[in-house]
């Protein structure tokens, strides 16, 4: 059975289910308690689970990442909310040099099972220090997993999957998705990490998109379907470790691929995807160059129109997809 929930409600439901099921799971972060989280995601959880398991914290991102790591290595299953992904910069030492490496450095003798949830993305008029998409920084750090759900159902299932995972997981939520609705299965329904999903089937062009860009690619697919162009929209869901084969299979089928993400293009995840596709058996099936559509290489601007132009929009995906299919460029 499923019913309609928002992305934010789906995340809240996953946290509550995990906390009911496993007393080692606890939630902490800035304003996650009384305030209900800066985006309301954790609203009501304090009343339900009490202040020991839903902990408001001081504004101390460095030690919060240390708390997640230290508690995880001694038997707990922490969920840390970092209020904006931009603020993760203040946690970097503990995440990159401790959480990611301790297991390896210690000869595999500890597990570090925690989830760091954080809202990323532009589109809220919050300008350059509250709009970043920094997921690829963590893709580059061995020892950490990176998850980016694009739908309410994935948000719930993948968060449960992330909480079950024995590794540190960076769970990147998108602010503009929090209010989007979709069918979400009831009950405890974890989705294992590293399962790429084809979100829409089509034969003319593969669009590999992440997070909010999946929704935009699906909208673009609707528009292009009216022109007789069929997009296949593929969502990696877990960026690291990546389930590559469904992407490769899709490109083999369509012969064309457009990669779309919101983060800045240079050094972004799209480059990795392009290299994986170009180095795979899909290479021989390509009828057109591998194209990337991504955020401009710039800080996120405040002005509404500039902010819009910085990030791929539905019409940008429509244009790029049409060009690839019609003109092969």
């Amino acid at each position: 059975m499923s019913r309609e929930l928002t992305y934010a409600q789906a995340i809240r439901e996953a946290i509550a289910l995990a906390m009911e099921r496993d007393e080692r799971v606890f939630l902490f972060g800035e304003d996650v308690g009384i305030y209900g989280g800066a985006f309301g995601v954790t609203d009501g959880l304090l009343d339900r689970f009490g202040p020991e398991r839903v902990r408001d914290t001081p504004i101390s991102e460095a030690v919060l990442a240390g708390v997640a790591t230290g508690a995880a290595m001694t038997g707990m299953r922490p969920i840390l909310e970092i209020q904006f992904m931009d603020f993760i910069t203040l946690s970097m030492e503990q995440l990159v040099l401790q959480a990611a490496k301790l297991r390896f450095m210690l000869g595999g003798k500890v597990n570090i099972p925690f989830v760091l949830r954080t809202p990323a993305g532009a589109g809220t008029g919050a300008a350059a220090q509250h709009s970043e998409s920094l997921e690829n920084w963590f893709v580059h750090v061995p020892g950490i997993k990176v998850v980016m759900p694009s739908t309410p159902a994935d948000a719930k299932g993948l968060l449960l999957g992330a909480i079950e995972d024995p590794n540190p997981v960076i769970f990147v939520e998108h602010k503009l998705l929090y209010r989007t609705k979709g069918p979400v299965p009831e009950g405890y329904t974890p989705i294992p990490l590293s399962q790429t999903e084809v979100k829409r089937e089509g034969g003319d062009l593969t669009v590999v998109a992440t997070s909010l860009m999946v929704a935009r690619a699906l909208e673009a697919a609707e528009t292009l379907a009216q022109e007789g162009i069929q997009l296949e929209v593929v969502d990696p869901r877990t960026l690291k470790p990546l389930d590559e084969q469904p992407i490769i299979d899709s490109v083999k089928k369509t012969g064309r691929v457009l990669i779309v993400h919101e983060a800045c293009k240079t050094g972004g995840y799209g480059g990795e995807l392009a290299a994986i596709i170009a180095g795979s058996e899909a290479f021989d099936y390509l009828d057109a160059p591998i194209r990337r559509l991504a955020g401009l290489d710039m800080p996120v601007p405040y002005n509404r129109e500039l902010e819009r132009r910085m990030v791929p929009q539905v019409e940008d995906i429509v244009d790029a997809a049409r060009k690839l299919v019609r003109e092969g460029i």
């Binding site: 460095a62 030690v63 230290g70 030492e93 401790q98 003798k109």
Partner: protein, 341 residues
């Protein structure tokens, strides 16, 4: 280790009554503490020789001269308590009960080492004895300690965590965040700052404008105490008080143990920042010799027994070297093991 039977002492009792001169520790416990200090020194002296012989690569940070603070503080812990250590952490590991053989195997990068040859000197951990690992980042363990404290608190374990760091780490921002959080949540953490006077070449006189690092405790509303780190018993007393307080659920304490490293920061150190005279002054305050002499004055040790302890640890270290040398290297086929669970 803590033998549970003694009465508690407080750091204010710097002038302890004669009856409490040994802080309630039994002669056997003191002899074992002394042996542990000798073991640390023998381990490090041997490791240094092996480095010069090219048998150990990379780098290492020796704690020779700081054995009093390592053993004195850990003597206040129980086996199930946790520690988090530093890049200068060989002493903490041995004090907490790590086996020199498995440590030496790690130094020689062998599969049998504590970290399967993946960590080396800077990352020695022994999870079974509650040693959650040395850390290559100055102050890197300080935030982790708060997490371990939360874990102990939420699981209602009768444990504490002691985190070691140096004077340099006390200037890291994470120090502030961790002490504040531990204070507001009453976490069972003992912050043990081993002030060995230099953060690499930067003297504490040049890096901070306070006399005692423990003064910083008042900023967090927690007790802070500075002790002579080369006096095993002074360190033990302060640690015992802090550990007892943490165990009672009354929260963290900051202890500063003033000590000195006899050797350079690491293998690259030309020691331009200090004089030979200064080093000699501190060597005259050798923590091992000081404890031994106090025990001799009490009639709990004589020179022959001291020499026997020394011979015993030398044998143990030679055995550790033999074990390490005979151990296999990691199999390259296992290179990726341990990155993910």
């Amino acid at each position: 280790m803590d033998d549970q039977t003694e009465k508690t002492s407080s750091p204010e009792q710097a002038q302890a009554p004669p009856s409490d001169e040994f802080a309630g520790l039994s002669p056997d416990s003191l002899r074992e503490a002394l042996r542990r200090m000798l073991l640390i020194r023998a381990f490090e002296e041997t490791a240094e020789q092996l480095y010069f012989q090219g048998l150990i690569h990379g780098t290492m940070h020796l704690s020779i001269g700081q054995e009093g603070s390592a053993v004195g503080s850990i003597w206040a812990l129980r086996p199930e308590d946790y520690i988090l250590s530093t890049h200068r952490g060989h002493g903490h590991s041995i004090a907490k009960g790590a086996k020199p053989s498995l440590m030496m195997a790690e130094f020689l990068a062998k599969e049998t080492g504590y970290c399967r040859g993946r960590g080396g000197s800077m990352h020695i951990a022994d999870v079974e004895t509650g040693n959650l690992g040395a850390n290559g980042i100055v102050g890197g363990g300080i935030p982790l300690a708060a997490g371990v404290g939360v874990s102990i608190q939420m699981q209602k374990l009768d444990r504490v965590v002691m985190v070691f760091f140096g004077d340099g780490a006390a200037n890291e921002g994470a120090f502030h965040e961790s002490l504040n959080l531990a204070s507001i949540w009453d976490l069972p953490v003992v912050y043990l700052c081993e002030n060995n006077q230099y953060a690499m070449s930067m003297s504490v006189r040049r890096s901070m404008n306070i006399e005692d690092i423990s003064q910083r405790a008042c900023a967090y509303g927690i007790p802070g105490v500075s002790v002579d780190g080369n006096d095993f018993l002074a360190v033990y007393r302060a640690a015992k008080e802090a550990v007892d307080r943490a165990r009672r659920g009354e929260g963290p304490t900051l202890i500063e143990a003033k000590t000195y490293r006899w050797k350079g920061h690491s293998r690259s150190d030309k020691q331009r920042y200090r004089t030979k005279e200064e080093v000699q002054e501190w060597q005259a305050r050798d923590p091992i010799r000081r404890l031994a002499e106090r025990m001799m004055a009490q009639g709990w040790l004589d020179e022959a027994a001291f020499q026997a302890l020394q011979a015993d640890v030398d044998r143990e270290i030679q055995e550790a070297v033999r074990f390490a040398q005979e151990s296999p290297e990691p199999d390259p086929a296992t290179i990726l093991e341990g990155v993910y669970a």
